[in-house]
């Protein structure tokens, strides 16, 4: 075995240029594959964080009727108590009680339909929190004559409003009566999702509750978890604890995102596989060439008694060694590349348009460590597959004929 490894190793360096070309092809192939995978993964991850952490949370609880009719009438009974109970759980970062209503925002010269989210500023500020999204102005710190409202930068643009502008909100109270009240824009926030930024406006729950006529009103409890992966378990437990309420987790709330993330790993490894498969054909060609050049030599090896299994393993081993070098170097380079790009970011051309779909225009590539391992495995597996045909060709040689070849 040791000799077989020694012979294989020396064999691959007989044609240094050829071996180096294949190694470089493997390195570049891996880097290309991992680059695209890391960009994809980062953009999905960013979208997940943006959607789940900043927008919908892991779990939302509503009155069952509220989903079809988001009105103040469908409140969560004992909402604040429930919220406190959930907050007491160890696996919960925050459970934020909210008063969510559909309404209309009017500036001096524009009208826009919005969703008003009455929030408890402290509850929403727990990391990752709403306060971190403020781009301009402040986060519920000002005490002014008018109640504060935080709106998205895009909504501000549409309403022709800025920090300090006065907006009139119109909505229904708990009895279904139309109520109007003035708010002052205290801050502008920004998220990548255009839809969210154009529609969601945040006010203090105490103020909106006063206006709708129920100081204790809660129409939504948004729960953010410690561990992303536990959302199903926790949602199930909450469903049992509060059977009269509708408990939904993020995968229910945004099935498209859930599905995209679910298949992401497979899609990415497939991407690597396709690229590496292309490189493997180059490898196959090279090994085949190296066999044709060595017909006589292989014949002599078999003539003197080297078993076909050993000749076969020798050729597979040669390919495995080349792929091991190419794979290792490729992974090291890819790792460095992803690290560096993660710091500097990749600017996506035409990225502005992507933001409408919730993707950021600057991406900070990242990839799971396991993915490097998987990609490395793909390289070795394909390299071994590529060597099987040439190795089979080699052992089909008849020693008597092979040694006669000049």
């Amino acid at each position: 075995m040791k000799t077989l490894i020694k012979i294989s190793w020396r064999n691959i360096w007989r044609n240094r240029t050829r071996t180096l070309v294949i190694i470089i092809a493997l390195v570049l192939g891996l880097m290309g594959a991992i680059f695209s995978a890391s960009v994809r993964m980062a953009s999905e991850q960013q979208q997940f964080e943006d959607t789940v952490e900043n927008q919908i949370s892991h779990i939302q609880i509503h009155h069952p009727e509220f989903i079809a009719n988001p009105e103040a009438y469908y409140r969560i009974p004992r909402g604040k108590n429930i919220s406190n109970e959930i907050n007491a759980r160890d696996d919960v970062i925050r459970a934020a009680p909210r008063t969510v209503l559909d309404g209309m925002a009017a500036s001096a010269n524009m009208n826009e339909g919005i969703r008003i989210k009455g929030v408890e500023p402290e509850a929403e500020a727990k990391t990752p929190g709403l306060d971190e999204l403020i781009e301009e102005g402040s986060y519920f710190t000002e005490e002014s004559r008018l109640p504060s409202i935080l709106i998205g930068e895009r909504l501000a643009e549409k309403l022709n409003a800025e920090v300090g502008s006065r907006l009139v909100l119109t909505f229904q109270d708990i009895e279904g009566e139309i109520v109007s009240s003035s708010f002052r824009v205290e801050g502008l926030y920004s998220v990548t999702s255009r839809g969210f930024e154009e529609r969601m406006a945040f006010v203090r729950a105490s103020e909106i509750n006063y206006l709708i006529g129920d100081a204790e009103a809660v129409t939504e409890i948004a729960v953010l978890l410690d561990d992303h992966d536990k959302y199903r378990d926790v949602a199930g437990e909450l469903e049992k604890a509060y059977p009269d309420m509708k408990v939904r987790h993020w995968a229910d709330l945004d099935p498209t995102l859930f599905y995209a993330l679910e298949v992401l790993d497979q899609v990415l490894i497939l991407l690597v596989a396709i690229i590496i498969m292309g490189v493997s054909f180059g490898l196959l060609n090279t090994i085949l060439m190296s066999i044709l050049e060595r017909v006589r030599e292989l014949g002599i090896l078999m003539a003197v008694g080297m078993k076909k299994a050993r000749v076969f393993s020798m050729i597979v081993m040669e390919s495995a060694m080349v792929s091991l070098i190419g794979g290792a170097v490729g992974l090291i380079f890819s790792f460095a590349m992803v690290r560096i790009l993660n710091i500097y970011g990749v600017h996506v051309p035409g990225g502005e348009g992507l933001e409408d779909f919730g993707y950021a225009s600057v991406i900070y590539p990242q990839i799971d460590t396991a993915f490097y391992f998987q990609s490395g495995m793909v390289v070795i597996i394909f390299a071994i597959l590529a060597s099987i045909y040439p190795a089979w060709k080699a052992i089909r040689l008849q020693p008597a004929e092979a040694v006669r070849q000049e």
Binding site: T3, K6, I7, R10, N11, R14, R296, E297, I300, L301, M302, A303, V304, G305, M306, K307, K308, R310, Q398, P399, A400, V403, R404
Partner: protein, 232 residues
């Protein structure tokens, strides 16, 4: 003296050619322990075919090759690999050696395939290279050796594992006169010292004169089988 190889009515017909070629016609020969035999004859007389069939590299169309009481003509291929490894040494016309291995690694190679102990292997390989006069080239790769030196390494490799007999197919064909004589001297010396049966094919008159037994093949059949009393 003990019979090492016995061929019985050995025939080989190549049918993959336009006209069937009778490379061997009923060749019945016996080789005894320690013999130093040259198989001679013009090109196409069946020398190489005979050696290939006796060496288990090729199957006869008819007849038997009995080695150690076993008929290798009917042996399965997988067994034949092992048989060749344990019982037969080979020297080919040229490019015998594994180019990526040094002289001593090449000489050890067969013993290595036989799983001999490392110490024994090294000692024997060194001893053999010394016997063929290459003790200063132990760690040199074939590309750095002359044609004659390469063939001497090949002879050392073939004999190192102490096979029952050694087959050499035109070992001197690519060598100049001096190297050819030199190689033959070494082969003759080892034949005596190690008492190993040596059969080689050649059409080189200079070389034929060194053999103690000369078998002449013509059109695949034995034409003459002469024994000479030579001291080499």
């Amino acid at each position: 003296m003990e019979t090492v190889i016995k061929t019985n009515n050995l025939s080989k017909v190549y049918t993959d050619t336009a006209v069937p070629v009778h490379a061997l016609r009923s060749v019945s020969l016996e080789f005894r322990q320690g013999e130093f035999t040259a198989i001679v004859g013009p090109s196409g007389s069946g020398k190489t075919t005979f050696l290939n069939v006796v060496g288990g590299l090729d199957k006869p169309t008819e007849g038997h090759v009995i080695i150690d009481g076993v008929d290798i003509a009917t042996m399965k291929e997988s067994k034949l690999f092992d048989f060749r490894l344990r019982h037969i040494g080979f020297v080919f016309q040229a490019y015998n050696l594994i180019p990526v291995l040094t002289a001593i690694e090449n000489v050890s190679f067969i013993m290595l395939l036989q799983n001999r102990p490392k110490a024994e292997m090294e000692e024997r390989a060194k001893q053999m290279l010394e016997q063929v006069g290459l003790s200063d080239k132990l760690n040199v790769r074939p590309a750095k050796l002359s044609g004659g030196q390469q063939q001497r390494v090949a002879v050392a490799r073939a004999l190192a594992s102490k096979p029952d007999f050694v087959l050499a197919d035109e070992p001197t064909a690519n060598l100049d006169t001096e190297s050819a004589f030199n190689l033959l001297d070494i082969m003759a010396k080892l034949n005596k010292e190690e008492n190993i049966t040596l059969i080689f094919s050649t059409h080189d008159q200079r070389v034929i004169e060194r053999a103690r037994r000369v078998i002449t093949l013509v059109d695949g059949a034995v034409d003459k089988d002469e024994t000479f009393n030579r001291e080499n």
